[in-house]
Subunit: 280 residues, 2 copies
């Protein structure tokens, strides 16, 4: 008997919660409720904020995604804040390290070690510009997941990802190439490799889903970045891989007052409901 | 009067030291001299090692490059080790954060803030897969530098960087596109944007130098990865931008004994001498 793959674990969690919602923890000191930043130092305020958000949303979230840029910026306190945040998330919820690492083999192995062995994340985002040996070390952890950047939701996402290569957009070539790394002959478990495909380019999302119908997808760009749930639902209709729709700011900063956690719960619940048809 | 650009500062340092050598600080616990790891805990051993290497090589190094993967892997101690290492490097030596970050605009701004404001690095490596808004925030720091990944020296570097786009390799398109971001109309100072171009593909290095003759170049892949100084010298002959040739393992681990610092000094000196013709 083999342990479940990341895709299987994520699917099970989604069934349990009837949720596709990934809550992005981007704790921005400029946007935290004032009563928190007034009473505490930066690290304490972020921990209190994250804990309250997690407590209010843990039964609504299929997963959490921690944006490492926001933690790193806390300097000497960043590791402690990461650990405290991870410690507040129930064991049953998959957690993604969003750091978009990508480096040569021996460095990639260390990034994977930090992410999976030291911090015990369940998955991470990886940038593939440096090719196979920059991604493979992350795929060598059974049960853990990788979301490789394919089509990102930011304005600059089209600068390189949309160039035409062999008659198709470059991001398709990235997806096809990476899927071959996961083939049985390459000795890597199916269900580890997923892709980032933003909701701001629905046609790209549809194409990536068609190319990798069994792979987990992480979909940013709904809400603040302009994508909407209905379009996402249509684009992912075919295929069976688990899909996470990430929302960060629209949930975290739904209210700037003392009711921020309740407002976050409500925003997460609304997003969950709008995506629930995908699970039925 | 405007402050000098990163390219100007780097050029001045290279003239002062007659050196193109960038020493890559990749402190690998598995490869540190045993007398250090036997007597100290991991963080203390890495600090002692880095300090000794820096002391032995500071007059030979045009720059240092800190590979963040090796620091992050120290967990809770990583920030302190970073600070202690940076504190041991003389003010006059430019220091590069090698983290290959690349994320959407607001995350990129935080990564740049951590790198330049909190840790006071002089430059950093950046991955451009996510396009302009993932790179621009790093270019908004006058006097600081960015080395954008163009053609990397690892085996997987050819997976995507070498695909043909409009009759040329993709990495050329990356370089051309990024150079346009630095144009005066885009309000960014010349001399901030450089490129990573590995010595393991000399033809690519030659092409990148031709496309960006004034831009700083960071050249990994000499030594352990198979590139050699003579080929590099030929490839960079044309052009005036400052060039750094990085060596990490071949210098750091030149000896595993108590003479590791002297051996590192000697290895750095040999590399410096082999590259000196570029400065005459």
């Amino acid at each position: 008997m083999t342990a479940p793959s990341f895709a299987e674990r994520l699917s099970a969690r989604q069934t349990d919660t009837t949720s596709l919602v990934c809550i992005g923890l981007d704790p921005d000191l400029q946007r935290l409720p004032h009563h928190l930043t007034r009473e505490k130092n930066a690290a304490q305020a972020v921990i209190a904020f994250n804990r309250a958000i997690i407590e209010a949303t843990a039964d609504t979230a299929a997963a959490y995604k921690l944006n490492l840029a926001f933690f790193e910026a806390l300097g000497a306190e960043s590791w402690g804040v990461l650990q405290a945040t991870l410690g507040a998330i129930p064991e049953t919820v998959p957690v993604i390290a969003d750091g978009k690492r990508g480096d040569i083999g021996n460095s990639a192995r260390l990034y994977a070690h930090t992410c999976f062995d030291l911090l015990d994340f369940d998955a991470c985002t990886v940038s593939g510009y440096m090719g196979k040996d920059s991604v493979a070390p992350f795929l060598d952890y059974p049960g853990r997941g990788v979301f490789l950047l394919a089509r990102t939701s930011n304005p600059g996402g089209s600068d390189f990802q949309e160039i035409e290569y062999q008659g198709r957009p470059f991001y398709e070539h990235v997806v096809r190439t990476a899927l071959a790394w996961e083939k049985p002959g390459n000795n890597r478990a199916k269900g580890s490799l997923g892709f980032v495909a933003g909701a701001s380019d629905i046609e790209a999302l549809r194409r990536i889903r068609a190319l990798a119908p069994d792979s987990p997808l992480l979909i940013p760009g709904v809400g603040a970045q302009g994508g909407n749930s209905n379009d996402v639902l249509k684009a992912i209709r075919e295929g069976s891989g688990p899909v996470l729709v990430n929302s960060s700011r629209a949930i975290l900063y739904a209210s700037a007052g003392r009711d921020f956690d309740r407002a976050a719960r409500q925003a997460a619940g609304t997003l969950r409901a709008s995506l629930a048809p995908a699970l039925s």
